[in-house]
Amino acid sequence: MNYYLLEDNVVQQRRIQQIIESCQVFDQPISLLEALKADKLAKVILLDLEIRTVENVGLNVAKMIRQFDTMSQIIIVTTHSEMLEQGLKYHIGMIDFIDKAQSEILFTKRLLSAVTEAEQQIRLQSGTQSELITLPNGKKYESINLNDVIYMTSSQSQSHQLTVCCERKNIQIRTTVKSLPKLHQNFIQIHAAYVVNKSKVVAFNGQTNTVQLNNGVLLPCARKYLKTMRQLF
């Protein structure tokens, strides 16, 4: 695993290098970005938000990184702990936010745990092929990892409200069930109200016409779609 650090303060550079020895240090955003582009593997990137007293440089760098690299994990190391924690998590998918102004022992502990989590995330991702899929949401779009999606259903009362059930979360967007199977070959419609992800189907019961998914949910299969389901399972 490769580690990169963007930090302009020499003392802080040394401080972090003592904790993570194999860390490559940069004090210029441009050189960091070039190095990152050259390295195609997933990596752990540590960023300081404030470089040469210009605020939010780190944030812009993180955004630029995300444009060409979604696999790497970003950790923010900064003194600006007062704001934007949630925003950053949300915006650039950063994994942790570490305050420089804490005591040495706490700092080391936090940094190490953050790096461990980042490595774990990367390992998890590398096991599965991640493919981003763009779901229409009204006039906007919502990007989601194909491997996360288990099934999608429209709430009974309003046909344009669609709930996407993922591995660890549920998302509600505004679209129709009909439009989903066209998005990816893995999406199969089994009912007027249900579309399942093919790779998440565990079993198909031909007698009760129910489809079992990997999270234990049982969904009914309508007669119209029985033929395709029988062919697949």
């Binding site: 934007l84 009204g138 409200q161 709930t163 998302i171 509600q172």
Partner: protein, 435 residues
């Protein structure tokens, strides 16, 4: 010629009655547009009902059957189309529109019966009255007045019941008078007609006026709440500022003693002083509780956030607003409903966060494009139900909030809402298309 006019009148009369009734009904329902199919079918049914009603020999049946049945038909349509959820309100509107539909013709008949006119003139006057009734109904429809009384009537059950009772009483009275008119014991009275009209207008306008009055009161209360919130926020800022000044004072002292330590090259003194600085500054300096509202252009949004921050503060929920650029969306400025939507979302977030251990609500405003509200929650919510009318996870709540939000988003093309429920976070993400 007279024969022809008479037959023509008999055939067209029910058409006018049913059309007028429908127009009034849709106006009262807040300019609801029925589909063409519904309009045609309803008109035919009402036509048949009126034809049959007028065809009876018995004066009692002739007087009461058609009007009662047409009220039932209107009620049924409104109920099937799910325009208004409250049945009482529907019944009120149906009976009022039936009263209004018959009023013009009744008035004309009273007038002609008081002044004896030739039969020929009377028949043409009947026809004219029907046309006038349509014109009145259409003119009223053109006014495009926002009624919005459904919610009001739902909240004031007693008032609704009184209005409903009086409208039904008027209907029954009218039927009786029509019966007496038919058996020629009653010749009609202008006073009664005017009394009827004023009562009908009262039934329509009393809720409208009191609704406006309540809205006005709400506005005043809202203003008071805003004032209180901003005052207490100022107080919080002042306390923070005085803490800060204390720290500044301490800080200078500490620096002075540091300098002394350095001059005397006493390492242990320096160490002690240094760590006390670190400790103190960690306690006092980083304070995420201060809202960063100077970037928000919309004053109403700003004060809304202040009020909600105050509520969260009272419930000891930590409420953060994260915003790093100027936030200004022209499309939603001065849109009361938008502020209501944000208010509902924040209320929900604060109430859900209150039950958790972490108790955090974070509001992100990003690049004039997105408002995100994240709150801590205890479990992964079932999203298939939340926006339904009448669903609520809270006790003693009507489940109206998210339904309103959903309706608002559906009505606005430039706003999209995404709801994400995770194990520990509940996220409402609102995206704007900036034209």
């Amino acid at each position: 010629m007279f024969q022809f006019l008479n037959i023509f009148n008999v055939i067209t009369w029910p058409i006018f009655e049913s059309v007028v009734m429908l127009i009034w009904f849709s106006t009262l329902l807040g300019h609801h547009r029925f589909s063409k199919k519904t309009v045609v079918i309803t008109s035919i049914i009402l036509y048949v009902i009126n034809m049959i009603g007028n065809g009876f020999e018995s004066p009692l049946l002739r007087a009461s059957l058609a009007s009662t049945l047409s009220i039932i038909v209107l009620f049924y349509i409104g109920w099937r189309q799910n325009i208004i959820h409250s049945k009482c309100v529907l019944l009120l509107y149906a009976s009022v529109s039936s009263l209004l539909a018959y009023w013009v013709v009744n008035f004309e008949m009273t007038m002609t019966s008081l002044v004896s006119v030739p039969v020929f003139v009377q028949t043409s006057l009947d026809f004219l009255a029907n046309i006038l009734a349509v014109i009145f109904a259409l003119i009223f429809r053109q006014l495009k007045y926002e009624w919005l009384t459904e919610n009001f009537l739902k909240k004031h059950v007693v008032q609704l019941q009184v209005l409903l009772m009086s409208s039904l009483f008027l209907r029954i009275m009218n039927d009786f008078l029509a019966y007496f008119f038919a058996v020629e014991q009653f010749t009609g009275s202008i006073w009664w007609d005017f009394f009827l009209l004023s009562i009908i207008l009262a039934i329509i306008f009393v809720p409208v006026i009191s609704n406006q009055y309540e809205l006005l009161l709400d506005k005043i209360n809202q203003h008071d709440a805003e004032m209180a919130a901003s005052q207490s926020y100022t107080q919080q800022l002042e306390t923070k500022y005085s803490e800060f000044r204390f720290f500044k004072h301490d800080y200078k002292n500490i620096l002075a003693s540091l300098e002394y330590g350095i001059q005397s090259e006493n390492m242990s003194d320096i160490r002690n002083t240094y760590y006390s600085v670190i400790k103190k500054s960690n306690e006092t300096l980083p304070d995420p509780q201060i809202l960063n509202l100077k970037h928000i252009a919309d004053l109403n949004l700003k004060s809304l956030i202040l009020v909600k921050h105050q509520i969260a503060f009272e419930k000891s929920v930590s409420f953060n607003v994260e915003i790093n650029e100027f936030f200004d969306i022209i499309a939603i400025e001065n849109d009361v409903n938008f502020h209501r939507v944000i208010g509902i979302l924040l209320d929900n977030a604060i109430e859900a966060a209150e039950k958790t251990v972490k108790k955090t609500v974070t509001m992100l405003l990003m690049n004039c494009k997105e408002i995100v509200i994240v709150n801590s929650c205890t479990q992964c919510t079932d999203l298939t139900k939340i926006a339904q009318f009448g669903y609520s996870s809270k006790k003693n709540h009507s489940g109206f909030g998210l339904y309103f939000v959903q309706q608002y988003v559906n009505q606005h093309d430039n706003i999209e809402l995404t709801t994400i429920a995770e194990q520990h976070h509940f996220i409402q993400k609102m995206m704007f298309t900036v034209s």
